[in-house]
């Protein structure tokens, strides 16, 4: 917030010092920004880990240029050790999911936008909100710091499957402790979001007048609230296995490197998988629902039309939330579960695709007949649609046992879920950043550089992830240190490793316009009006940027969230927060 504001001292109030204002703030907007900035830093870090992995996959065993000196432990003489590759992979996944996307999409966007959209002065529990961020930060720092442990960070994948994870080096313990902090953070955040949405809605803002973004955050919070605790339980048990010598996840008679393991045994590795996926399937909806929310707002705003089928979208969201708790074992078809079990989970998996398809279809149909403004946020939102479409459709074969036997644990899976989270969710997040930047800072980002950011990113994302689908169908396994070179059946698709890697490094370059745009725009004059996009939802009633307590006048909702191009109105948008001008004729 600008220095100029220090002029208007009001001596009746206490003044906040630097620490209370920026570090230990309880203001949802500051916390939102803290979450978003930290999340983006972690996304960048996770991206860097991935770029290192891509070197090893494209040029297995060749020394990494320049970096050998920086990482003497993992890259002695520049050549990557297999254990280090595993660290990079496990931590890339963990960081991207738990410390990048979720903090940015839920912690960042949710915290900043949700209270504004419902016309609230802040979150219901501001201090809990602060603790949520702090807990996230501690968890994140533990994860980050684990790279500096003598044996390095966790190396058992983001899934941490035992028995390997149980007997892995100390980084895994740090991973578990870090997870407990991240889970605590999510729980505090989820409770806050739910109570805020239920209790602090402005007058007249009934549930079916909530913007779709709020609905998305609402359902997401329920998923976080109810799905994370079982993983927390599992993390405690794995911690006990590692620290107290229990055998929750270790079967009897386990032999490691030719030696019988001295444990009591009697545990079950599959139990971990159940507990893990009971969280992690809802977690993938945590990664995608906020993206739906952002894209819906931007599409309505830039087509100047109400969303097509708002109510069916909301019902789909709710159904999706419920169903996401009963599909988890589709990640475990190859564990030898019985046919009854697998039939059940195949059925629920096919069922859950229906609401996702409804939402995507509604978003696409919303474009029909609109006078589309191709702003940067809209480009990213439009880019999201086909990318999520590919990601979703490639998931169907994985939900059916017959094709999954072939595709399981191949690069096809990597391609599939990255289509959902990378060109999918990340594009939606970019869209949201461009869209709400004027509200957050009072300034506009450059439209031109936004487009320079979009087009190369769009092309490169596809150059990265489409070849992965091909490699996977050819049978190339994921998590291969040498990029699959040992197996003869991969021969025909190995050249794609180089294509993917160069595209991934190119994607990094393509982010430079974005990073510059993000920071340099902060130095522009504050010219953004309260409602620069001529939008209808309540956050645009607050000044840009909003002050403490958010609104300068009492706000209420007088109509639904997307009253664009209402016949008979003088403007093509009728904000939710403007009282009706003339008495509305009953129909």
């Amino acid at each position: 917030m600008a220095e100029s504001e220090h002029h208007d001292h009001d001596h009746h109030h206490e003044e906040l010092g630097f620490w209370r204002k920026y570090v230990f703030s309880t203001d949802h907007k500051v916390i939102g920004i803290q979450y978003a900035v930290t999340g983006m830093l972690f996304l960048f870090f996770g991206f860097c880990l991935m770029m290192l992995m891509r070197w090893q996959l494209a040029f297995p065993g060749e020394p990494v240029p320049l970096l050998g000196k920086l990482f003497p432990r993992g890259l002695p003489g520049g050549v990557m050790l297999p254990e280090f590759y595993n660290e990079l992979g496990a931590m890339h996944g963990t960081i991207m999911v738990f410390m990048g996307i979720v903090p940015l999409a839920v912690g960042g966007f949710g915290n900043f936008v949700l209270p504004l959209q419902i016309g609230a002065p802040d979150m219901a529990f501001p201090r809990l909100n602060m603790m949520s961020y702090q807990s996230f930060l501690i968890g994140g720092l533990i994860m980050f710091g684990s790279f500096f442990l003598p044996e390095g960070a966790a190396q058992s994948g983001w899934t941490s499957y035992p028995p390997l994870a149980d007997i892995a080096p100390s980084g895994q313990t740090a991973w578990l402790i870090g997870m407990v902090f991240l889970i605590t953070s999510s729980l505090l955040g989820a409770i806050n979001f739910l109570v805020t949405t239920i209790q602090l809605r402005a007058d007249g803002l009934s549930f079916f007048r909530l913007p779709f973004f709020c609905w998305a955050q609402f359902v997401t919070s329920f998923l976080l609230l109810l799905a994370f605790p079982p993983l927390e339980a599992a993390a405690f048990m794995q911690l006990m296995d590692r620290v107290a010598g229990t055998s929750f996840f270790l079967p009897s008679g386990l032999v490691v490197s030719g030696q019988a393991l001295e444990v009591s045994g009697g545990g079950s590795p599959i139990l971990w998988q159940h507990l893990f996926w009971f969280l992690a399937h809802p977690e993938v909806y945590v990664l995608i629902l906020p993206a739906f929310g952002i894209v819906a707002e931007i599409i309505a705003n830039n087509t100047r039309k109400p969303l097509w089928g708002y109510k069916s979208m909301v019902y789909s969201l709710i159904v999706l939330g419920f169903l996401s708790f009963v599909v988890w074992a589709h990640h475990m078809f190859l564990t030898g579960m019985g046919t009854t079990m697998s039939a059940f989970f195949q059925t629920t998996t096919m069922m859950i695709s229906i609401p996702s398809v409804i939402i995507l279809t509604a978003l696409i149909l919303s474009l029909w007949g609109g006078s589309i403004r191709f702003t940067t946020p809209m480009l990213f939102a439009l880019g999201f649609l086909p990318m999520f479409g590919i990601g979703g459709l490639t998931g169907l074969p994985l939900g059916l046992t017959a094709p999954d036997i072939h595709l399981h644990d191949t690069y096809y899976v990597i391609g599939h879920f990255h289509y959902v989270v990378a060109p999918g969710t990340i594009f939606a997040l970019f869209a949201g950043i461009y869209y709400w930047y004027p509200k957050v800072t009072g300034r506009h980002m450059s439209e031109f550089w936004g487009k320079v950011h979009f087009w190369p990113s769009f092309v490169l994302m596809n150059l990265i992830f489409f070849p992965m689908l091909i490699q996977g169908m050819a049978g190339m396994s994921r998590r291969m240190y040498d990029g699959g070179a040992t197996y003869a059946h991969n021969e025909g698709v190995l050249y794609l490793n180089k294509v993917i890697s160069f595209a991934a490094w190119g994607l990094a370059l393509a982010q430079i316009p974005f990073i510059l745009n993000l920071f340099l725009s902060l130095r522009k004059p504050k010219t953004a009006s309260a409602n620069p996009w001529r939008a209808t939802t309540i956050e645009w009633a607050a000044p840009s940027p909003p002050g403490h307590g958010n609104f300068t006048r009492p706000v209420a909702a007088y109509r639904g969230p997307y009253e664009y191009s209402v016949p008979g109105e003088s403007e093509d948008f009728t904000p939710q927060f403007e009282p009706a001008k003339a008495p509305v004729a009953a129909h």
Partner: protein, 206 residues
């Protein structure tokens, strides 16, 4: 315009004390119920694991082979009694009888303390006999579940102790808000009690 000055946030957030009309609840009440829902999932995950491990085991000891049923029965009674005194403490808030409130809240904390002491005796006697979490999966389940539960008892005690001592200042300044807080702490305490009512038969009797 953001001003660097501040109104205490509790003053500008609606429904911190008084219920919202259409939901009929205040913020804290919904918050604690949601929190308890997540706790149900936490212990639910552990109970489910217990069932899976037990079903998959070749042999599963009966609780009495390792554990002391008399001590656990005593603990069950203590926790139930402390739940009762917790309700009385809350009722004293409503009746505005500060002396009684202090008494009942104090008894509730003491109940928690009694529970923890017995737990301590039980744990040390297990260790004495050479029974550790690593001994077998039954004891692993026992120590993990009761350990996590004991942590909950401890947190509940800390909260209650705070409302018994320094937190009670609010009794005089914002009585209604204080009553809400005691009620919330009570809901948590009853939940902790309830978890034990499940743990007792599952671990000791079955």
């Amino acid at each position: 315009m953001a001003t660097p000055t501040v109104v205490p946030i509790d003053k500008i957030i609606p429904h911190t004390v008084k219920p919202r009309e259409d939901t009929g609840l205040n913020n804290v009440k919904i918050g604690i119920w949601l929190f308890l829902a997540s706790e149900v999932m936490l212990f639910g995950g552990l109970f489910a694991s217990y069932i899976l491990l037990r079903v998959g085991a070749d042999r599963w000891p009966r609780g009495e082979e390792y554990l002391s049923i008399p001590w656990a029965t005593a603990n069950t009674l203590i926790l139930i009694a402390s739940s009762v005194t917790m309700v009385m403490a809350w009722a004293s808030c409503i009746r505005k009888d500060f002396g009684k409130y202090r008494l009942y809240m104090g008894l509730t904390v003491l109940g928690g303390l009694g529970f923890m002491i017995i737990k301590y005796i039980e744990y040390t006697s297990k260790f004495h006999h050479g029974y550790f979490p690593s001994t077998n999966t039954f004891l692993a389940v026992y120590f993990t579940l009761t350990g996590l539960h004991a942590l909950h008892v401890l947190s509940g005690m800390i909260v209650n102790l705070y409302f018994w001592g320094p937190g009670a200042k609010m009794w005089h300044t914002e009585h209604e808000r204080f009553t809400n807080r005691v009620e919330t702490a009570g809901l948590f305490w009853h939940f902790v009690d309830l978890v034990w009512i499940f743990l007792f038969p599952i671990l000791y009797l079955l």
